[in-house]
Amino acid sequence: MTTVFLELRNLQKVFRVGLLARKVTAVRDVSLSLRRGESMGFLGPNGSGKTTSIKCILGLIRPTAGSVKLFGRDPWDIEARAGVGYLPESPYFYDWLTPREVMNYAGDLFGLDRTTRRTRTGALLERLGLGHAADRPLRGFSKGMLQRLGIAQSLLNDPELVIYDEPLSGLDPIGRKEVLDLMAELRSQGKSLFFSSHVLTDIETLCDAVTILNQGKVVAAGRLDALLDRGALEVEALFELGAGGEAAARALLAVEGSVERERTGARLRLAVPHDAVDALLQAGLAAGAKLEQLLPRRDSLEELFVRKAVRVEARGESQDSQDAAAKGQP
């Protein structure tokens, strides 16, 4: 069996819109791959092509060019989709059904036998906090409850690959925590996760790898630790200048690479590259400044995201995706 669960090669989707059938490219030249047990975050601002790509992955939309493989098969092959658990963005279900009926319907589509379906339905509804509402029509459900039902039905087939489109949207803090815990649990069970999100800290927590889209293009892709380059680490320091006053400040700012961040009275906050910390501390001691705080600062995914998104917008066309892919693609 293939170990590459999901593979996109040069995926492109062009829609024709309006009376004049104007061409709009929603996804251009997107490539990625996800192996067994890996988890990948799919990032991008609204309209960047995330949902269109996910719909191509699931056979809801036909690509204009390029290819999609699910478990090595075409996503239009139902056997390929049998191992996938999918949660659409803001999931909708027939509001006259109850959660149990939704799960039964899904179970029939997955071809589960009655015993397996019942056992898993009960366990999943309880796990997602819907046990008490299992036989209530969905009409009165909150968005968070629908989201949890969406997750429950996505796990009914015990999928090997979970594809979630914005799984945390619409959830309150407790709901978010529960879903994050569940996704971490899925990951620990060895399932592969592929999910889009606007909440970058969640992706940092849950993912091994990330693909960032903007304007339909991959602007960064690869393993998180490779993308968030540790060479770019800097350290932020807060000094009480004390008797040294202005002279101490000048001495500290004279350290190579040092940048003033904030100055409040006799306090100076500055940042230096990681390899200049020793020099900074020596300069501070010599100048009579008192160190109050020293914080290593890592480039966050959010900063990377903003930087890449802004860059591609500024350039229009960018080579970044290829650079990043070459640098860190797992």
């Binding site: 829609f15 269109t52 719909k55 699931l58 056979g59 809801l60 939309i61 036909r62 478990f71 139902i78 056997e79 989709r81 049998a82 191992g83 996938v84 999918y86 659409p88 803001s90 999931p91 909708y92 279900f93 027939y94 006259w96 059904l97 319907y105 899904a106 029939d108 589509l109 997955f110 071809g111 589960l112 036998d113 397996t116 969406g150 039905q153 087939n157 015990d158 999928p159 090997e160």
Partner: protein, 274 residues
């Protein structure tokens, strides 16, 4: 892929179609259009009782027979048009489709399931109205004869065909237009035999004006002749309806139904579900 999931084979395919059909039937049971049409048909049947009071004594039962068949046909077809035209649109508008089609189900299975579910509902409607009609007939001194039951059965075949037409237009365009076009096919289909007569007549517009003749030929070629399923006159006059005719009508209805469902499928398969 995963241990307990089996998706291939005809039995699994039928299971999925049945699941979609059952869900469609369950949904339709809650639809106000269904109950509205049912109530309207019952009122029309009751109205036929009042109307029959105006008829001559030996014509009372016949009037109820005639009016009953007409009422059931009209309102069941109206249900098929309204619900058929909305069949796919509602799934897309409510986005319920996006939680279903990524599962291991073919689009063809989904579409056939939706169609089967609606046909089952219309079967229930024809059955309920038939029972009601039977009661009215008994009330007026008549009875439900095999010939009347046959007429009702052929009407159901017509309704299934109209549902297939609605499904096709539902896959092609927006619901209002789909409803209008389906109703148009029904109306023209009911009188297509008149068009055939006009085309074969030696004189008249359809015989002499080339454009009209071409248009008439196209209509006759692309539209089903729905009068095939209307044996009310024969039944009411007590004429026998030959078995050969019934078999041919069933085959004719089935062929057109399969054609329209297949066309709907081609459109639905090609559609991007954005």
């Amino acid at each position: 892929m995963t241990g307990a999931v089996h998706v291939t084979g005809p039995a699994r395919s039928l299971q999925r179609i049945a699941a979609v059909a059952a869900n469609t039937l369950r949904e339709a049971r809650r639809n106000r259009v269904f109950y509205g049409m049912l109530a309207a048909a019952v009122l029309l049947l009751l109205f036929s009782v009042a109307l029959s009071e105006l008829a001559l004594a030996d014509q009372k039962a016949r009037l109820v027979q005639d009016f009953g068949l007409f009422s059931i046909s009209l309102l069941t077809v109206a249900t098929a048009v309204l619900m058929g035209a909305l069949l796919l649109h509602k799934e897309l508008e409510r986005k319920t489709l996006y939680a279903i089609l990524p599962k291991p189900i073919r689009r063809s299975e989904f579409l056939v399931g939706k169609f089967a579910g609606l046909c089952a509902l219309l079967g229930v409607q024809v059955g309920l109205l038939g029972a009601c009609w039977w009661g009215v007939l008994v009330l007026r001194g008549g009875a439900m004869t095999p010939a009347l039951a046959l007429a009702l059965g052929l009407q159901y075949v017509e309704v299934v065909l109209v549902t297939a037409v609605a499904l096709f237009f539902s896959a092609l365009t927006r619901p209002v237009l789909a409803g209008v076009l389906t109703a148009g096919v029904f109306v023209v289909g009911r009188v297509v035999y008149v068009l055939q007569d006009l085309l074969s007549a030696p004189k008249g517009g359809f015989a002499e004006v080339p454009v009209m003749r071409a248009l008439g030929k196209v209509l006759v070629a692309v539209l089903p002749d729905l009068s095939t399923f209307n044996v009310a006159d024969e039944v009411l006059l007590g004429w026998p309806v030959p078995t050969d005719y019934v078999v041919a009508a069933l085959g004719y209805g089935l062929s057109w139904t399969v054609l329209f469902v297949a066309l709907a499928l081609v459109l639905f398969e090609r559609r991007d579900l954005t």
